[in-house]
Amino acid sequence: MGQYLRSLDWVLLGATLALVTYGLLMLYSATHEDTNISSPFYYVRSQAVGFVLGFVLLVIISLSNYRVLRRFRTYIYGANLAALILTLVIGSGSQEVGANRWIELPFFSLQTSELAKLLLILSLGGVLSEGAELRHRFRFVVFTVLYILIPSVLVFLQPDLGTALVFGAILVTMLVVWGIRLPHLGILGGGALVGAVLVLRVLPALGLRLLKDYQLKRLTLFLNPESDPTGLGYQLTQSKIAIGSGMFTGKGYLHGTQTHLNFLPAHHTDFIFAVVGEELGFLGAMLLLGLYSVVIWRTLRIARLSSDLYGRLIAAGVAGVMIFQVFVNVGMTIGIMPVTGIPLPFMSFGSSALVVFLMAIGFLQSIHVHSVAGQER
């Protein structure tokens, strides 16, 4: 046990707990004055429950051996698809976008697309490590693309464009660490570009609309938010105002006017970063980015130190998710990235996501414990 404790990545764990605490504090600030909730702690309590559950899972997973899962990759993949299909069939969701995102469990509403990220990393990691000898075969790369395309389509149908894009980020980072040949990566990038142009420009012109109107609008609105001063453009403008008006040190915790007077929409979910920017200013934002940097650095370090390819790939996938989600979410709030509905890891309200990210940290700890570095310490 002492060896186990000494083998843990305490820096990663510390940074993770700091992020969760930071998130709970900002969530309280963002929501305690909301009028549609029964208690000022409504959201914080719900998120804290997710944290407790996630932390228990983190500990259990870190105590277990991640390598076992490689054998079950096909079952994991199948379960993942089943859960996503089930979500489409019986899932519940918000009325206004007509999306099905959650499966109601007896004690928990599970957002299957969040869990799907982790399950996909685990199963794709298995596939890639089994196919380590096929690095020179472009066909195998194409196979992995198809492999993630199926769950991508399923979440896209919810519709959840953001998670589908996260799946893409997972594939790319895992392929890079796996050792994809550069020409193959180039073809993959070119294909993605062509696909994007097809979906965004060509197909709509031909009358085939893969993306709903609101999705298309959201993707391009950040370039000119003033063109829609009442709807989403209003949100983007208000987010920039919130962050900009925070200046160097912010307006003070619980004193963000944009947040508390409701000018900032979705301030507890997609736009929680704007609350940080407004109330804690440039310093608070840099502190947050610093914590993410530590987590990502430690995650990639684990990828490098992992004693096997499977662990390396899992760590790479987790790093990919975090890099992509942090950049796209923060980028959206500051007006340099489109609106895709991607939440901020550990910060945005949503206990499914929090539990899944804590589980991912658990896997990272497990890899660390089993790695050479972990053994040597």
Partner: protein
């Protein structure tokens, strides 16, 4: 869970470049975060101040608290205009349906609101266009909305009217109804063009200002200073906190020179005069005016114009329907202030001023006489006297005024025509004819006219018509021809005769007082000019005018039968073709040696016929009210002119 690693044969890994590949990912991550940090630096440090200002704009609303307007009193402290609480219906654009996103709902709401408020839809849409420039501020669309019907309905059906709000506001109240309506004027919302004027530089859209009458002239005193509240609002525009509160400073009160009782008597007398004109067969008589002036200082004691209207129609904005009703032909222009702006030939009321001009020029003396055979001929043209057969031989000035002998003044006109320069015109202009009086009311007409050869040269229709001929001067000498005067001008001119030669600027504002009645500002009486005419001349003219009301053969003798105070008067029956004759009378009292005249009264009844039988009784009624004498005199007054 199993801690032990699975011991299975694993495929060999390609361990080459692992560090580099992971390193690339780390570099990519840090590069992306670097972009974010740079952007944050730009937003928060470089542009922070601008965003702070925008955030403040977002949440802070300045709500104007309109200052209650000052009260207007008559000279005896009677309230003419005060304030009462009214309910204003306004629109808050940001809370309404968006006309672009929900055009049907928006249109439906506008049409429902138009129906309930009885306001044209176009007006509401125009108001919405103005209001949406500041969509978080309630913009008034209808003031003084009845509480028990309209407001109750709006509240009951609140869900059908998103963004429609009811607020308390002060509106004007007129306890004496239409009394002195032309003096008081009205109050209305400031217009865009008015906002651009310097005098209203401190005002904002939605403010109320005096639009006419003394409300307009003394607006800066009456208006007060608006207060404001700084309110912190949330995104839905709901007020959260009051951050700052500056109480409004109520406007100061205005005391007028008007005596409301005399004013009421004057207004009533015009109605009586019109009735009398109708009885005498002048069925077209429909309008009239009375001016009562203190000749000692120019204070206006009464200024009446008939027909009048209810000034409370302006409260909350006059409806188009009402406005067109008031402007209909059969309404006879109730909005028009005849006392100040009615343009009339003076008729025989002009004769005393003509006489003063001739006497002052030394053309005649009071003893000079002319023979009156009933007609006068010069240059092949003949003028008739109003009295067939004439006033006999040897008519002197006093008799000419008393009996309003036309032939005497034809002779004066002929004499004046032969002088070098415009002796007659200059003489009467000293009394203020042909110029604005400078009264403290807006919009005084500048169309009055004392015709002379220059005017004729400019306005004549033909070469022949452009010449100033003896006939023009002779017509002018009896107050006819192209002469145009206003009742106010006659009153100011007569006051100068009554007070021995001072032409006053007539005044309605007496003083400004604060809420506790302390005098804040006392308005000075203003002399426009001294006539520079020998007071003896004015006395002689006054003697003739006294005989008008008192001597046998005086044209207004019957009208003033039994009146206990000596009155100096002059009748006028002015021709204004194709209209029926206009009845005029002017008087001052008490008149005579050792008397100090206190009041000048001028009355005009449009198309009322004779000055002696229609206008003179009107003046008598006003004088009775002024001197509080018993109403008397014969009801049927014979026509003498």
């Amino acid at each position: 869970m199993i801690l032990e690693p699975a011991r299975r044969k694993r495929p060999p890994e390609d361990e080459s470049f692992v560090g580099i590949r992971v390193g690339v990912l780390l570099i990519v991550a840090f590069a992306l975060f670097g972009v974010v940090a740079l952007r944050l630096w730009f937003l928060q440090i470089l542009s922070g101040d601008a965003y702070v200002a925008v955030a403040a704009d977002n949440r802070l609303r300045e709500v104007r608290v309109e200052a209650p307007r000052g009260v207007i009193y008559d000279r005896n402290g009677k309230i003419l205009v005060e304030n009462r609480a009214g309910l204003t219906v306004g629109i808050l654009p940001m809370a309404m349906w968006n006309p672009k996103k929900n055009p049907q709902e928006f249109a439906a709401e506008i049409s429902r609101l138009a129906e309930v408020l009885e306001v044209p839809e176009g007006d509401l849409l125009a108001a919405y266009d103005r209001a949406k420039k500041d969509p978080y501020v309630t913009y008034p669309v209808k003031e003084d909305v009845p509480e028990d019907t309209v407001v109750a309905y709006l509240k009951e059906h609140g869900e059908e009217f998103p963004g429609v709000q009811v607020e308390k506001a002060f509106v004007r109240r007129y306890p004496l109804k239409s009394l002195a309506t032309h003096v008081l004027g009205y109050v209305g919302e400031i217009s865009q063009s008015e906002l651009d004027r310097e005098e209203f530089a401190t005002l904002k859209i939605g403010a109320h200002i005096g639009k006419d009458g003394v409300e307009r002239t003394y607006d800066s005193y009456l208006r007060g200073t608006d207060g404001w509240k700084t309110v912190e609002v949330d995104a839905a525009g709901r007020p959260k906190r009051f951050l700052e509160d500056v109480a409004p400073a109520p406007g100061a009160n205005l005391v007028l020179t008007i005596d409301s009782e005399l004013q009421a008597a004057a207004e009533h007398a015009i109605v009586e005069g019109i009735q009398r004109a109708h009885e005498q067969g002048y069925v077209n008589a429909a309008g009239g005016a009375v001016v009562a002036l203190d000749p000692r200082n120019g204070e206006v004691r009464a200024l009446a114009s008939y027909p009048d209207y209810d000034p409370s129609l302006w409260v909350g904005g006059m409806s188009k329907k009402k406005f067109s009703e008031l402007n209909a032909e059969q309404a006879h222009q109730p909005l028009f202030n005849r006392a100040l702006n009615g343009l009339y030939p003076a008729g025989s009321t002009f004769k005393p001023f003509v006489a003063a001009a001739a006497l002052n020029a030394g053309l005649i003396t009071p003893e000079s006489t002319f023979d009156c055979s009933g007609k006068f001929s010069v240059a092949g043209q003949t003028w008739k006297d109003w009295l067939q057969g004439g006033h006999g031989p040897g008519v002197d000035l006093i008799e000419a005024i008393k009996e309003s002998c036309d032939v005497y003044f034809y002779n004066l006109g002929n004499l004046l025509y032969q002088q070098q320069g415009p002796v007659l015109q200059d003489g009467v202009r000293r009394f203020g004819f042909g110029q604005t009086t400078g009264i403290d009311l807006p919009g005084e007409t500048d169309k009055t006219r004392v015709p002379d050869k220059y005017w004729k040269r400019e306005h004549g229709n033909t070469a022949e018509d452009k010449l100033w001929k003896p006939g023009d001067e002779i017509n002018l000498a009896i107050g006819q021809g192209d002469l145009l005067v206003t009742p106010m001008q006659i009153a100011v001119a007569l006051a100068a005769i009554a007070n021995g030669g001072t032409v006053w600027v007539p005044r309605l504002g007496l003083r400004i007082t604060d809420a506790s009645g302390n005098v804040v500002h006392q308005f000075e009486h203003e002399q426009r000019a001294e006539l520079g005419i020998n007071p003896r001349i004015l006395e002689v003219i006054g003697e003739g005018m006294i005989l008008v009301t008192s001597a046998t053969g005086g044209t207004a003798r019957a009208a003033f039968e039994g009146f206990p105070i000596p009155v100096a008067g002059k009748t006028g029956t002015a021709e204004k073709k194709p209209d029926d004759d206009y009845a005029l009378f002017m008087a001052y009292a008490p008149a005579g040696a050792d008397q100090v005249p206190e009041i000048v009264v001028v009355a005009v009844i449009e198309q009322g016929g004779h000055g002696s039988s229609v206008a003179a009784p009107v003046v008598r009624r006003v004088l009775e009210a002024y001197f509080h004498t018993e109403s008397g005199g014969t009801e049927i007054i014979p026509v003498t002119e």
